[in-house]
Amino acid sequence: MSNISYISNTDREREEMLSAIGAEDVEELFSAIPEEVMLDRPFEIPEGMSEMELVELAQEKAERNLSLGEIDSYLGAGSYDHYLPAIIDHLVLRQEFYTSYTPYQAELSQGTLQTIYEYQSMICELTGMGISNASLLDGGSAVGEAVLMAARFTRSDKVVLSSTVHPAYRRVARTYGYPQDIDFNEIEMHEEEPVVKVDEIIDAVDAETAAVVVQYPNFFGAIEDIEKLNDALEDSDTQLIVVANPIALGMLTPPGELGADIAVGEAQPLGNVVNYGGPYLGYLAIRDDRRLLRKMPGRLSGRTTDDEGNEGFVMTMQTREQHIRRERATSNICTNENLNVVMAAIYMGAMGKQGLQDVADHCYQKTRYLKDQLAELEGVEIVNGDNHFHEFWMKTDKSAAEIEKGMIERGILPGVDLSQFGEVEGLLVNVTEKKYKEDLDNYVSTLEVVLQ
């Protein structure tokens, strides 16, 4: 019998080392711990096991799940199941990427630093913004950080928030804003269409407004009238924060071209597996403005030269960061989501200019097809009408819970039950490029049965 152990030293080597130190035994090394806080019993944790048993244990856990491979899922709402090219995992499992540390010693970290630089660049290309950071912890916390950043920048604490921003993002933003006394003003949706009342936003903005936050496409998959919003904000100091889905930007006009000051969001759809919600990566990009840059949270990789004039990359603008600036830092963020950044960079590179447009087109066309078929069913209302990217809000005569139950029995997860967010009723249905026409037709005919 031998349990897993990654310790190299043998008993004999430990003896030699103890004797070099001048200690009797290993316990002696812990003698600085006062008696009264010394743990006098073993942990109540099972004893270790072999690698073989461990793998079996994990497989047993997996078998008690019903994974997306075993049911036809239409869940989205901020976490999207796109096809992940095989190369991503092969490359990211290069130990040089996944077992390395934050690139503090730039000379032995050029791989990470250049990858971050390329990620930053591709995020800028996609969002139309001037500067991207090296990721934040997820889409939700990125929205929180964006709000704090806008508040710091404008020295104001009022934020106008569209109620069509993902409920979880709004909740995280409030958590982030709370200790800074950010005053959130949430603007309602239209009654007929799942978009915010832009006029009400415009009315709510005043000179003290640090930021307006809208989502694009919004939580319900619909396109807000950002053009109008930007026209109204253009001459104000209020920062326009656009929470954008990066896959949608394969088709939609980038936030940078629509006047966004800060584009932010969840970059999981770029090459990252659904993973029950994490690890994901928040992206945050800003217009090309040095003053705004100084308020930006998170790491940045910059291109520079070495003493022989060769190009190289370093972490830069570190004086914004906690390890240098401590209590005056722009954020406390330290570890971010670098390996997810690597995956997103590989994904953007592999799909490229044409592929990203193609994925977006798949999403759009297939969603439209499903939505059109469903709209014909009796007892179904598509709240979005024609306004959607790859997600729509469906109301049914029967409750969402009933629909979900009936569909699951028939092998389909029909969408996210909106009632869990406590605001509206119905299902939020997402379609990605992974669906075939056959799946969509099956969804329609199954729902027809369940509705009866």
Binding site: S8, S31, G69, E107, V273, Y276, T335, L339, D386
Partner: protein, 482 residues
């Protein structure tokens, strides 16, 4: 050696992806969406083949140094070997292909795993409840401090606005306090590298909300007076926050809960060997004492009659800090690590981490200054001030010279309380040969600093790039290829 940018491989019309037929009838999106919302121009992403992408990122990887490349003695970072089996487990499709909004009854396997993980983390720290939501150590600090502030406010102590931080603390501690709207009060370490009780007593007034502390601290020294420290803070009405960055030092020997800490965060990517990934993803679970339970982030993973569920009915919760359930896949690896090691294995981890650090320190103290003579735990701090004073060779120079020998450097210039600090943490997964080798190289560099200081000052000589101009990078930021 240098690798071009991916965009330099780009050629118009080249592609490296594949997708099925769309199959469904296609419509012009312009029929349904406003014209302004549709891109005029394709995104300026590279146009490259699969071969290009594979070769590019393979080449980039070769410019990096990982734990599998050799010793990585970054103090406070706990760069230990990352078990391959954990990566396999975190890639089992039945564990990864789960959507965060799936019905709870479909994810009972994973929820039971996470629930067990919570129990282990509570046991290891001696705390009562755990939130898995924070996605990194600093995120955990942020949550932990907010828990404290919400608790205080709820108990009519909302006016407290000071957080005490020792001068040896990680930068995240004061930064977190600021994010939480607190004023930071820094107290000096005493000449033994520990908290000065008198200073603390003075700082701990009626405004104090919390003391943030690491134990063993960033000098690798155990704060022996921890119970007195806790008493002083508690008596003043504040709470104790434990920065779990150094948990690798004391597993099975001492628990923050037993030291009377109220809140602790873990760094699963440090202690439990889920890899650092070049800077994340990490995971920073927070563990709290009984009375703080109501304030932790919602929803809370709970169990009733062998069914696991997310309890959202938490009226006093501070809210959410992550859109979903935190860094789940990182938790899978931490769970695998803990179950593989087991109770006895975790204790052996700390024993060997401490033994390795003490042994390595012993090998180095003839050549380098040791600012504090106290017993070290899993890391120690030596100083290059002698080399700087006598030969003008800085700790930065020494670190760069180490790279020439294909060794990663210790954490340098931290903690701030030590001049020319080299904070060194070999971890338990290095062996004696590896430590001896590192020590020999350090001694060689000490000799080189005497005999050929200019050469050391111009290091690195063998790395993929030479010394990079950081000042220029900050002056004229080039952050995007566009």
């Amino acid at each position: 050696m240098k690798e071009p940018l991916l965009k330099d491989y780009s050629t118009p019309g080249r592609t490296g992806y594949s997708l099925p037929e769309i199959e469904v009838p296609e419509v012009d999106p312009g029929e349904n969406l406003p014209g302004w919302a549709l891109r005029d121009e394709a995104p300026g992403l590279p146009e490259v083949s699969e071969v290009d992408v594979v070769r590019h990122f393979t080449s980039l990887s070769e410019l990096n140094y990982g734990v599998d490349s050799g010793i990585y003695p970054l103090g406070s970072c706990t760069m230990k070997y990352n078990p391959k089996v954990n990566e396999d487990i975190a890639r089992i499709p039945g564990l990864t292909m789960l959507h965060p909004y799936q019905p709870e009854r479909h994810v009972q396997g994973s929820l039971s795993l996470l629930y067990e993980l919570k129990q282990y983390l509570a046991e290891i720290s001696g705390m009562d409840e755990v939130s898995l939501q924070p996605a990194s150590g600093a995120h955990g600090e942020y949550v932990g401090l907010q828990i404290i502030l919400n608790y205080l406010e709820d108990n009519g102590e909302g006016d407290r606005n000071k957080v005490i931080v020792p001068d040896s603390a990680h930068g995240t501690n004061p930064a977190t306090a600021t994010m939480c709207g607190m004023e930071v009060v820094e107290i000096e370490s005493n000449d033994r590298g520990m908290i000065d009780l008198d200073e603390l007593e003075e700082a701990a007034d009626e405004d104090v909300a919390a003391l943030m502390l690491t134990n063993p601290n960033t000098l690798g020294i155990f704060e022996k007076d921890i119970r007195e420290i806790a008493e002083i803070v508690h008596e003043a009405g504040g709470l104790l926050y434990y920065d779990g960055a150094n948990m690798n030092a004391v597993m099975g020997y001492a628990r923050p809960g037993d030291m009377n800490f109220d809140v602790i965060h873990y760094n699963l990517h440090k202690t439990f060997s889920t890899p650092h990934g070049g800077g994340g993803p990490g995971s920073g679970p927070v563990a709290v004492k009984e009375e703080l339970k109501p304030y932790i982030p919602a929803p809370v993973l709970s169990k009733e009659d062998d069914e696991y569920y997310w309890d959202s009915d938490r009226p006093k919760s501070l809210g959410k800090v992550h859109a979903f359930n935190g860094n789940y896949a990182v938790m899978l690896k931490a769970y695998a690590y803990i179950r593989g090691q087991g109770a006895g294995g975790l204790k052996r981890v700390s024993e060997n981490a401490v033994l390795n650090a003490n042994y390595l320190k012993q090998q180095l103290i003839d050549e380098f200054d040791l600012p504090f003579a106290a017993d070290s735990f899993h890391e120690f701090v030596i100083s290059g001030r002698k080399q700087k004073k006598e030969h003008g060779v800085t700790t930065q120079n020494i670190a760069k010279r180490l790279l020439d020998y294909n060794q990663y450097a210790p954490t340098i210039y931290f903690p701030l309380v030590v001049e020319e600090a080299m904070m060194t943490e070999p971890t338990e997964t290095e062996n004696k040969e590896s430590l001896d080798n590192f020590a020999d190289i350090m001694k060689t560099i000490a000799r080189e600093a005497e005999e050929d200081p200019e050469m050391v000052k111009n290091a690195p000589h063998e790395a993929p790039v030479g010394h990079l101009d950081e000042a220029e990078a900050a002056r004229n930021p080039d952050l995007c290829w566009g």
